[in-house]
């Protein structure tokens, strides 16, 4: 949002998954099933910024993160990283680009190969990208990285199963950072951890960010984590970005009814009973058959006819603050209801 060019720019990114169409389906003329996990998301991230991406399970936030890194090939749209169109890169150039954009995974148990030692796991990026001249240098760099994330270099020859969840997550962070990337997708890096460990890992991530000059896309379903870390927040619902803006605006004065319902779910210690909890009815609709019009209308208390017919446009509601809702001008708020 500053004058300089953003480090990462996502433009109308779409990711569809096509269901396998069997012969019987073709013969009976049943149409191919298409899941639109991400439907035309645009956002930009400035260098050194942390953008929090929030939404409930299945809304497509992990898919968005992985599509940006081309771990899942985007169906359409563009991802520009530091002026380079990542989505157009051929394999060798993409491999080189992968050194600069990395990912930290949610599950510290599944994300480490159980048959590799910590030294091998963290050393792999260095060896793949030829970042060290000798095995001894690989080992030195790995040892330095492993100590930077709070483990000991004596741990290098151990296997992942010999570590706790928090320690494993540190190993995953070391693997992501050892090649000195600039941009990291943090895909719910603390959701699988105990609360006490969560705080340590978040602290580690913020320390490393300032030390190594990193930029994060931080994916979470935990508003308090997002609120604590982020400079800007993006709210996703059923594959779409419904609200995006500076953290203090979006969390303090949410404009989209979905964001408001998320905020109302945050327990407040200092003002007990002040807010009333807005319960959304029903489940997240299936992305196989998303509702027409505004995707949120099936659960939105303010939904009207136009919401059921037409998809809302994204509008600017404040400095750097956008939201997609038909009734923005009416200044409705779920959060004020009980005071009214």
């Amino acid at each position: 949002m500053t004058g300089s060019a953003p480090l990462l720019e996502v433009d109308k990114l779409v990711k569809e998954y096509r269901g396998g169409r069997r012969l019987a389906d073709r013969l009976t003329g049943r149409p191919e099933t298409v899941v639109r996990a991400v439907t035309g998301v645009s956002l930009s991230i400035a260098r050194g910024e942390i953008v929090g991406l929030i939404g409930e399970s299945g809304c497509g936030k992990s898919t968005l993160g992985r599509s940006i890194l081309r771990l899942h090939e985007p169906t359409s749209g563009r991802v520009t990283f530091d002026g380079t169109d990542v989505t157009a890169l051929a394999a060798p150039a993409m491999k080189a680009m992968r050194r600069r954009m990395q990912i930290i995974f949610q599950d510290p148990y599944a994300s480490l190969n159980p048959r590799r030692t910590v030294g091998e796991i963290v050393g792999l990026p260095l060896r793949l990208h030829g970042l060290a001249r000798s095995p001894a240098e690989v080992r030195d760099l790995v040892a330095a990285m492993i100590e930077k994330v709070g483990l000991k270099s004596a741990h290098l020859d151990r296997y992942p199963h010999q570590f706790s969840g928090g320690q494993r997550q540190r190993i995953g962070i070391a693997r992501a950072l050892v090649s000195h990337p600039e941009f990291i997708v943090c895909d719910e890096p603390v959701s699988a951890l105990d609360v006490s460990i969560q705080a340590q890992i978040i602290q580690l991530l913020t320390d490393l960010k300032s030390e190594m000059g990193l930029t994060y896309l931080f994916i979470s379903h935990d508003i308090s984590v997002i609120g604590y870390l982020s400079d800007r927040v993006a709210v996703m619902y059923l594959g779409e970005l419904v609200e995006f803006g500076p953290v203090e605006d979006v969390l303090a004065r949410p404009r989209h009814p979905y964001t408001q319902s998320l905020m109302s779910a945050v327990p407040e210690v200092d003002r007990p009973g002040h807010r009333h909890r807005v319960r959304l009815e029903g489940d997240l609709p299936s992305p196989l058959a998303p509702p027409p019009g505004c995707r949120f209308h099936t659960r939105c208390p303010f939904a009207t006819d136009i919401c059921r017919r037409e998809a809302p446009r994204t509008e600017t509601v404040g400095p750097g603050h956008t939201a997609a809702c038909h009734r923005l001008s009416e200044n409705l708020s779920l959060l004020d209801e009980e005071q009214a």
């Binding site: 992985r66 890194l69 771990l71 993409m94 491999k95 080189a96 992968r98 050194r99 990395q102 990912i103 995974f105 949610q106 599950d107 599944a110 994300s111 480490l112 190969n113 159980p114 048959r115 792999l124 990026p125 793949l128 990208h129 930077k148 709070g150 483990l151 000991k152 741990h155 151990r158 296997y159 199963h161 010999q162 570590f163 706790s164 928090g166 320690q167 540190r170 995953g172 693997r175 992501a176 090649s179 705080a199 340590q200 602290q203 580690l204 320390d207 490393l208």
Partner: protein, 302 residues
Amino acid sequence: MSATEEIIAAGPAEPARETPFRRNMRAFAANPLALGSAVVVGLFILMAIFAPLVAPHDPADTDLLRRLQPPAWLPGGDWAHPLGCDALGRDILSRIIYGARVSIFIGAAVVLVATTIGILAGLAAGYLRGWVDVAISRFVDILLGFPYLIFAIGLMAMMGPGLGNIILALVYKEWVIPCRVVRGETLAARELEYVEAARAIGASRGYIMLREILPNILSPVIVVSTIRMAHVIILEASLSFLGLGVQPPTASWGAMVADGRAFILQAWWVSTFPGVAILLLVLAINVASQGLRDAFDPRFHE
């Protein structure tokens, strides 16, 4: 990082535990039946390797005076030929000992070649998906549609008998089994986060298939391969019984059973003892591989 670093660095990692493979092997050793069967299989293998030292006679030596001589404990037998002699007066025990070489060599060779092909094809189908998967999987389905023995008989009839041709005829279909196992395991493993992590740091597809996925799916493949070895030994015996296997005078269990068929009423031992040898080896391999499967299947632990 300072405060948290202290906490983590001070907290020792869990004490070193044994690797899953060693734990599985310990579970295997704790099963007396399976361990005993493995010992029996080992004895058969030693017998095959050291056949010239173990066998009392040359397996091809004919002595028409000893034609259809009964086993030692029956009237007319003697301990020079403990299991008696066949229609050409050859020592049955020696021929069984030498016959183990054929059965075990063919069993091991077929399983080894078939498993190698199956692993490569299964990895490619399961990891690359798309048209590679369709091509390999449909080919596998077609091969599965042929009855195994008829298919092998047809191939042997086309290629002619011989050790190399038997192995080829059996490998043609045998690779399908490890291929299906590997494909299934690969489909599950390719979605794991450590595979995605390897892609995220720019590892090639070959590296991911062979170095990240393969080591983690090898256990079920080893188990299936040992079970299949018993099947292959029976198939080889069947081909030899039908005269399509190893050609005389090389001793082969299946051919020995066939040789004795004409005299089964006067000299039951000619067919029976090689048949018992097949039974013992196949049974031992099956029980041992059952034990192996139980030991490697985590559902049987704890």
